[in-house]
């Protein structure tokens, strides 16, 4: 088990292109399950590969348990990695795949066998030990890849999108296995994914990356409730947060955000640093909006339904608001009888609204931090 510290970690392949990862500062605590989350090309895998020692570090320092390991080869970092493609050696049996790393360390044969046997039992692979990878299913292959990491008993486990090649059902069960594994081993784990469900369910903390930089680090629900900027707000959540360009105006009771003919009252403190007329982005989570079908309802917003997606337990309704380009997504109850073309009202809770500065940073999060501080 170990503490992994990234200090200004940067990877630049050539001068002509932006850095793949830039100025990444992150500390992963001993025994923590850290998830690096972000869209394709955000630098999360590059960061993971730098930690693994598979990519050289352009600048910054990487430390494991306080020891700088920038120039330590991958084989001497005592790190195990599980790959997206499983990366099992096709010419070796399951047993040999798992024992391959231990043999390099010239461990006594009896101990190798013991470790491989223990890992196989944990992962339910005991009956498959003599099979070659091509004779295994996707889920079994991924378990062998996990086993190969476990037998090493490394300081740090790295996972590079390990579930993305599995079908939906298998993904759920393997996710639970990885969570159980972390509980059992209490090891430091760093997990890369673009799947926010994996991030939310597995991570002790999540680190959201965008364009090579860290956008926000925090506990999953903290990040969900209080996104640091519009990128995080739009990325985390399914469906994502509605982001509506608006203008701050003074109102008799405090402050209002206007967008087209619509207006939403927000707590004055959230827009306090801004002058009236400033451009901001209003963020509304779909679950904080509710449809109001009755024309006499005192709903805040009114618009026309453009799509209806019944999902069983809930129905996603996209509503076009006047003079707003993107429709607003409303999470309605499953039994809602809303049809395309209906004119409906949208009720909202102003206290759940997020306000983002023109540069994208959350004023809501800043306000909360100021209050806590």
């Amino acid at each position: 088990m170990a503490v992994v510290t990234l200090n200004g970690l940067t990877k630049r392949y050539d001068r002509a292109h932006p850095a793949a990862a830039e100025d990444v500062d992150l500390e992963v605590a001993d025994g923590e399950f850290m998830v690096l989350l972000g869209p394709s090309g955000c630098g999360k895998t590059t960061t993971l590969r730098m930690i693994a020692g598979l990519e050289s570090i352009t600048s910054g320092t990487l430390s494991i348990d306080g020891r700088v390991v920038n120039d330590v080869p991958a084989r001497d970092r005592d790190i195990a990695m599980v790959f997206q493609s499983y990366a099992l050696y096709p010419h070796m049996s399951v047993r040999d795949n798992m024992a391959f790393g231990l043999r390099r360390r010239q461990m006594p044969r009896a101990e190798i066998e013991q470790r491989v046997r223990d890992a196989a039992e944990i992962l339910g692979l005991s009956t498959l030990m003599d099979r070659k990878p091509h004779a295994l299913s996707g889920g079994q292959r991924q378990r062998v890849a996990l086993g190969r990491a476990i037998v090493r008993d490394p300081k740090v486990f790295l996972f590079d999108e390990p579930l993305s090649n599995l079908d939906a059902a298998l993904r759920v069960s393997t996710r639970s296995e990885i969570a159980a594994l972390h509980r059992r081993l209490q090891a430091t784990m760093i997990y890369v994914t673009h799947d926010q469900v994996e991030a939310m369910t597995l991570g002790s903390r999540i680190c959201i990356m965008n364009a090579g930089r860290i956008a926000q680090v925090g506990r999953p629900m903290d990040v969900y409730r209080m996104p640091a900027d519009t990128f995080v707000a739009g990325f985390l959540g399914n469906p994502p947060m509605n982001l509506i360009p608006a203008t701050v105006t003074d109102a008799p009771g405090g402050r209002e955000l206007r967008f087209g003919p619509n207006r939403v009252e927000v707590p004055a403190a959230r827009t306090a640093p801004l002058e009236a007329g400033s451009a901001v982005t209003l963020g509304l989570r779909p679950e904080h909006l509710a449809p109001a079908l009755d024309a006499s309802d005192s709903a805040a917003l009114w618009g026309e339904v453009v799509t209806v997606e019944p999902l069983g337990a809930e129905t996603l309704v996209r509503v076009h608001l006047p003079e707003i380009a993107d429709p607003v997504i409303v999470r309605a109850p499953g039994e809602s009888e809303v049809a395309i073309g209906d004119r409906i009202g949208i009720r909202l809770d102003p206290s759940a609204a997020h306000v983002f500065h023109a540069d994208g940073h959350s004023m809501t999060a800043a306000h909360h931090q100021a209050r806590r501080g």
Binding site: R49, A52, G53, L54, P73, A74, R75, D76, I79, A80, M81, F83, Q84, S85, A87, L88, Y89, P90, H91, F100, G101, R104, R105, R148, R152
Partner: protein
């Protein structure tokens, strides 16, 4: 309808088999007949069968020496070209370095030169290094002429091995050298086998370089030995056929032993 289709396919296959195997069967029949019998009737069945021609060729016509020479030169060259070719192909496919593609292009472009263009200069180089008329010299020339094709076949195969496999081996603690031997080479075995068979067959039958670079009786390879039966005024067709059959046997053995791997290597990646 299905029977008709199958019959047509069978007829075509039979016709092709006769076309392909006919000369071989003919040579096999000739190998059991004497030259005077052959002159009487080119296509007659061997009656009686002169099996004694084989030990005669082997012991009295130096075929045992030619055979062992061929075996030494060709097996040595195939081992060397496979090792050097595999290492070069792995390096060109796996590592990013300056001039990677240029080295690959220069290496592969040598394939366009016909052997007649290089043979005089090769002759002079071998004389200069004291390797003329030696099995080692011929072996090195064979390595050089087969290297481009070997690297070409293996490079495309090595390039298809997922990079994650090498990364996994690095994480497992292995050096680049160990990864080549313990991961890359075993995974690429179908392609390696393909090159082994191709090189073996091509070099076993190689005549042009051998006839220019070897004149010593003790160092002659099989194709040169067979040539000895072709004189200025007459040729011993019967013994040539016997020699041919002796020469063909190792090729058949190698092919029978590795043919499955050869097909795997040639079709690797074609189907999932």
């Amino acid at each position: 309808m299905r029977v008709a289709t199958q019959s047509i396919v069978m007829a075509i296959l039979c016709a092709y088999t006769m076309f392909a195997a006919g000369p071989f069967v003919w040579a096999a029949m000739l190998s059991l007949r004497t030259t005077s019998e052959i002159h009487l009737d080119h296509f007659a069945l061997p009656d009686p069968m002169h099996w004694d021609k084989y030990p005669d060729a082997w012991f009295n016509s130096n075929y045992s020496i030619y055979f062992m020479n061929s075996l030494q030169v060709v097996v040595g060259a195939v081992i060397l070209v496979t090792l050097i070719g595999a290492m070069a192909a792995h390096c060109l496919a796996r590592y990013r370095f300056r001039l990677n593609r240029i080295i690959y292009f220069v290496l592969f472009s040598t394939i366009i030169f016909p052997p007649q263009v290089t043979i005089i200069s090769l002759f002079q180089i071998l004389v200069g290094y004291g390797l003329y008329n030696s099995k080692l010299g011929l072996m090195l020339v064979y390595v050089a002429i087969q290297l481009p094709l070997t690297v070409y076949i293996l490079e495309s195969f090595f390039a298809r091995i997922p990079a994650d496999l090498f990364d996994a081996a690095r994480m497992d603690g292995y050096s680049d050298w160990a990864i080549f031997w313990r991961v890359a080479l075993p995974v690429a075995m179908p392609a390696v086998t393909t090159t082994v068979i191709l090189n073996f067959i091509l070099l076993w039958n190689e005549f042009l370089f051998a006839v220019v670079l070897i004149t010593d009786e003790a160092n002659r390879t099989l194709p040169l030995g067979i040539q000895r039966f072709i004189g200025d005024t007459q040729e011993d067709i019967g013994m040539i056929a016997t020699g041919l059959m002796i020469a063909i046997i190792p090729v058949i053995v190698v092919y029978a032993f590795f043919s499955e791997k050869l097909i795997q290597g040639m079709t690797a990646g074609a189907v999932k």
